[in-house]
């Protein structure tokens, strides 16, 4: 393009800008930035596919994940059974789909609850400091000092295996790191001059810490939520694998993997553990990609 044409084009843009017709679309900016991040889009697609497939499991498969068919045990993948069948003849594909519901609920659900608690308290206590902060900090240390596995054993032996117990344990052990992360961010952000400006106007403490400071702390928190989600899904799988998680008859990704404890299964019947392992990995990766993308897109000082 020639210089003159380029100049004309810029002139037109400037006229538009000066007359106020060319507005910056501040609302959709974070979204468009997220959409420009290729990894985040891939993550979002994977996440959506797995989530939808789990939610609409009855539409995708005609098999009941709990129906035992002893005549059709350990069949390799075929057109009838896409992922084959397991030791008791249950359809693995439908178990993976239905299992996703529980696993995602446990992972995402406990991560979100833990985040709401940890961030909610951390934001206020970190901003106010003093005895409240010291008290919550020590409490969180007490909770974090407990090994998760012992806590699980304890609760399972007292209350029995259940979904709710597992979520409670994840929240109990998970809010501490969230709290500490938020608190640490608040400690540095509260010294910024814009905070003092708000104080000098007498704006209420709640508004200052939750509305004005928290958005600036969200980047690392967002990443931490996604990482925690991934961690909880793996932890659920691990605990169920050991037989400590969700009751065995409920299909979850971990419970399906549980079958792979048997060396015979591991060696001869790959279709029982490989598909579900792959789904877990893909889901965890997609969540991490989304977390990274969210962090970049919610930071307004980063252009892109």
């Amino acid at each position: 393009m020639s210089d003159a044409a380029l100049n004309r084009r810029f002139d037109r843009l400037r006229v538009l800008e000066e007359t106020g017709k060319l507005k910056s679309r501040s609302r959709s900016r974070a979204v468009s930035k997220l959409m420009n991040n290729r990894l985040a889009v891939v993550g979002l697609c994977l996440f959506t596919i797995i989530l939808l497939a789990s939610l609409f499991a009855p539409l995708l498969t005609g098999y009941d994940p709990l129906r035992i068919d002893l005549r059709g045990r350990l069949q390799p993948p075929s057109w009838q059974h896409w992922f084959g069948t397991d030791m008791t003849g249950r359809d693995v594909f439908s178990r993976v789909l239905y299992g996703g519901r529980i696993s995602i609920l446990v992972g995402l659900g406990s991560a979100l609850i833990a985040a709401v608690i940890g961030v909610g308290i951390g934001c206020y206590a970190g901003y106010k400091g003093g005895w409240l902060d010291a008290f919550v900090l020590r409490t969180s240390e007490v909770f974090m000092a407990f090994p998760q596995i012992i806590l699980v054993l304890l609760l399972v032996s007292i209350l029995g295996q259940s979904l709710i117990n597992l979520i409670i344990i994840f929240v109990i052990t998970g809010w501490g790191p969230m709290y500490r992360l938020t608190r640490a961010r608040m400690l540095s952000l509260r010294e910024e001059e814009y905070v003092q400006a708000l104080q000098s106007f007498g704006v209420s403490t709640f508004k200052i810490c939750y509305k004005h400071i928290l958005p600036n702390a969200l980047g690392p928190i967002m990443v931490n939520i996604t990482l925690t989600t991934a961690m909880f899904i793996l932890a659920e799988a691990g605990l169920s694998f050991l037989g400590l998680g969700v009751p065995l008859q409920i299909p979850t990704w971990g419970n399906i993997l549980n079958a792979a404890q048997d060396l015979r299964v591991l060696q001869n019947y790959w279709w029982i553990w490989l598909p579900v392992g792959t789904v877990i990995s893909l889901f965890v990766i997609s969540v991490n990609f989304i977390g990274d993308g969210l962090r970049d897109s919610t930071d307004p000082s980063q252009q892109g």
């Binding site: 106020g20 910056s24 910024e192 001059e193 704006v203």
Partner: protein, 349 residues
């Protein structure tokens, strides 16, 4: 110069204001001492004047400014605000809730334009909440006010929908000034408002501050360490050293007739853009003593050319000398005057 201030109409009176910060040590966090950032300041600020507050880093200028706004609660003393209609209130007695009506009268412009605006909000988003707080409910009204403010500081109205990172330092500082003006205060504490800016931009911002003062009848407390700026802006200048005011005088008087040895040293350090002119620079030895453990007697005595035994024992009070309300805290004012480096500026002027 902005003309002499009206006589004896104080907007703010400070009496023996002290702001100490505890220093905690050891496992049990026992208080091992105090940083005496502000250690007994008496000061009157008159309505409509520009009061310069100068001193080197760490002398308590900023802490004093923040104490006035109650951003840092002073440890002792009185900070009385006079609203001009006979209502005098000691800000320190008030709880945070009771302070709210007075927050409207006092505002602050910060030093660092890069941390004084919230990066997560547009300019309108940052300026909106104070307006809501002071009862501007309709959104359209708030947008109008913020737009007017931005125009008052020579920015465009539509800049309110931009984020802070889209602005330059000077523009940000002007937004900071607009924010301070948002609720139409009477007194603005300018905490080194130009020290983070380019020299060319400094002049712009200072010019703007002075125009706004004339338009809106503001009073400024101008905290700075740049003496060449204070000379042109301030009606009166207070010199601080280690948490105390050591000299307070009309600006002309301070430059022409310096009474405190510390002020002399400060003034002699102003760079002069004239190669032929010889300046007797007074070079102070050593550093500012720690405010945790200030020297006995006059805080300046370890670095003072004129120090005697008396200076080591007794704290000199802030006493009036001559007319014009020239105050200085020094035992040996006569000797200082005799030896004075009566600056070339005054002789030229």
């Amino acid at each position: 110069m902005t003309g002499s201030p009206p006589v004896a109409d104080p907007i703010l009176t400070l009496r023996d204001v002290k702001t100490h910060f505890p220093v905690r040590k050891g496992v049990f966090k026992t208080t091992a001492g105090h940083v005496k950032a502000v250690d007994g300041v008496d000061l009157d600020v008159f309505r409509g004047e520009v009061l310069g507050l100068v001193g080197e880093s760490g002398c308590g200028k900023t802490t004093l400014g923040k104490s006035i706004l109650q951003l840092v609660r002073p440890t002792a003393g009185q900070i009385t605000f006079h609203d001009g209609a006979g209502d005098d209130v000691d800000l320190q007695d008030l709880t945070n809730a009771d302070l709210v009506p007075y927050r409207k009268k006092l505002q602050i412009v910060f030093q660092d334009p890069y941390s004084s605006l919230n990066p997560a909000f547009t300019i309108f988003g940052s300026l909106e909440d104070p307006l809501i707080k002071y009862g501007v409910r309709p959104r359209a009204e708030r947008r109008r006010i913020v737009g007017d403010l931005l125009e008052a500081v020579n920015l465009r109205r539509d800049h309110m929908d931009h984020y802070p990172h889209e602005f330059s330092g000077g523009q940000r500082q002007r937004i900071g000034i607009a924010r301070a003006l948002a609720i139409e205060p009477d007194l603005i504490v300018c905490d080194e408002p130009v020290s983070a800016l380019d020299v060319s931009v400094q002049a712009q911002v200072l010019q703007l501050l002075m125009e706004l003062k004339a338009e809106r009848g503001l009073t400024y407390i101008f905290i700075t360490h740049d003496l060449s700026v204070t000379e042109y802006l301030c009606d009166r200048i207070a010199v601080m050293y280690l948490g105390r005011i050591v000299e307070l005088a009309d600006a002309d008087d301070l430059y022409a007739n310096t009474l405190h040895p510390y002020t002399q040293a400060l003034l002699s350090a102003i760079p002069v853009a004239d190669l032929d002119k010889k300046t007797d620079r007074i070079v102070l030895q050593g550093d500012v003593p720690s405010p945790v453990n200030p020297p006995s007697g006059c805080p300046f005595h370890p670095r003072c050319r004129f120090a005697t035994e008396l200076c080591k024992d007794k704290v000199p009070p802030l006493r009036p000398f001559g007319r014009n309300g020239h105050l200085a805290a020094c035992h040996r004012v006569e000797e200082v005057m005799a030896a004075g480096i009566h600056s070339d500026r005054a002789a030229d002027g």
